[in-house]
């Protein structure tokens, strides 16, 4: 399949629909360990991304991701705004002005996004954050590059699901959940869950 600006915008629309659908679930995941704002904030941000894209879609995939980045940074707030915003911004920068993406480019964008999240949030795998979903997703994406874009995104989504589940037994070391210490054990990290949800939505939309 060709993957240009319009297709990337469609992936983001699918991501926004998923976030809207899971808004209450993300709030509930955040409630016992954080401040209940994750689902609300992401939904506000992605709704704004979609309405911006409805006005005009930029010419390149990188341009689309850049709009998503700046919109998320200026609408989400909390920790998720700068983290997701940085992820999309770095992905956009990595793609430059190329007009069509191949599987290799999609992997490159995912990897750049992960690096951005790590640079901004300074979390590593095992801290019970979105990195626990995104990092294995990038590894799985790399292994699937030979099989095309849909396979790359599907592999990433599968790995992100497992990665998100792996946060349940962890003691959070970053973000608000870290204040709980051992009491945070047994909770699925909301950021890891939203990352897995977005990658799943992208994978479904790319099939």
């Amino acid at each position: 399949m060709g993957c240009g600006a319009r297709e990337v915008a469609d992936l983001l629309r699918a991501g926004a629909a998923t976030i809207a659908e899971h808004r209450a679930e993300l709030i509930d995941l955040d409630r016992p360990i954080g401040d209940s704002d994750h689902g609300e904030n992401l939904n506000r941000g992605f709704t704004a991304v979609v309405s911006t894209l409805d006005t005009a879609v930029p010419e390149t995939p990188g341009g689309v991701l850049k709009i998503a980045a700046t919109t998320l940074i200026s609408k989400v707030g909390g920790a998720a705004g700068p983290l997701y915003g940085t992820a999309f911004l770095r992905a956009a920068t990595a793609l430059g002005d190329r007009a069509e993406l191949d599987a290799e480019a999609v992997f490159t964008a995912l990897r750049a996004g992960l690096r951005g999240v790590v640079a901004r949030g300074k979390a590593v795998v095992g801290d019970a954050t979105m990195v626990d979903a995104l990092s294995p997703a990038v590894d799985a994406a790399e292994a699937a590059v030979g099989d095309g874009i849909a396979a790359v995104l599907a592999a990433a989504a599968d790995a992100a699901d497992k990665g998100a589940d792996s946060t349940v037994p962890l003691v959070a070391r970053k973000g608000r959940a870290s204040y709980l210490g051992e009491r945070g054990v047994g909770h699925l990290d909301p950021g890891a869950r939203s990352t897995a949800l977005l990658l799943r939505a992208f994978a479904e939309a790319a099939r």
């Binding site: 401040d35 609300e40 707030g77 970053k174 973000g175 210490g181």
Partner: protein, 333 residues
Amino acid sequence: MKKIINDPATVVADSLRGMAAAHADLLRIEYDPDHIVRADAPVRDTVAVISGGGSGHEPLHGGFVGKGMLHAAVPGPVFTSPTPDAVQAAVSATTGPSGALLIVKNYTGDVLNFETAAELASADELDVRSVIIDDDVAVADSTFTAGRRGVGGTVLLEKITGAAAERGDSLDAVEALARKVIGQVRSIGVALSAPTVPHVGEPSFELADDEVEFGIGIHGEPGRERIKTGPADELVARMIDAVVEDLPFADGDDVLLFSNSMGGTPLVELYLAHGIAERLLAERGIRVVRRLVGPYVTSLEMQGMSVTLLRMDDELTELWDAPVNTPALRWGL
């Protein structure tokens, strides 16, 4: 959930409109991105002291905008940090050649958004610095966590740095003073009930009738332990012990004692607790030289309180006593 609201999505903006009407002599409010500035802004010949954070903690921070305290405050959505463009708008509205000091509470979202805002501001060639307040002794200070939260001490920090800016101190001096205050202020909070965030509609946590959450933050995030309720004497003693032993505060220290209601605890209980705290400190030889008692850093309607101690010296006392004219703090005029 019963609240005096129309729509959870517009709570903050609707509240700001009322605040603008109530305090037009002291401040004005700009919308989208939302920021609150002094009525006489810009005051370009002094360092701008700017603070911000999620809404739901009123009067923090907007209630402290005015002469002698904050030049601007940036309210985020309820319990959510403001975005970098809002912080940048507040900086643009108030900051001149003297520069600005951003007061940031140590929460991941606040730190990340203010960090991004400071980067944007330096691109405008403004001298913008940040200090991070982390006075909550409930949280282990470790490189493996987000570190201690910023809580009640924030008000004292905003008052003292605001007074220093007002008298014309340089940015270097105001920043150094802020770091000094942060180094010698400590707090602890307790919750007797949970807050209900408007967009969630349910309490942030469940507490049994005989339980108290000890070491609570200001966002309805649970504290470190849950204890059984007892007489106020026991609860306040436990709070004072936790704060005093942390710095530690010692026999012979002069302190400011700040007894803060989290919103749902009435003054009758707060004064009661404050009286106990004064007595316990006197027993330890710690002299309370200044006080602040009331709801200043709240967590919506959460029942509970926090105790903050700031070690005082002549300079801090003079700055604390300096005139202030804001919606929530006003004296010396």
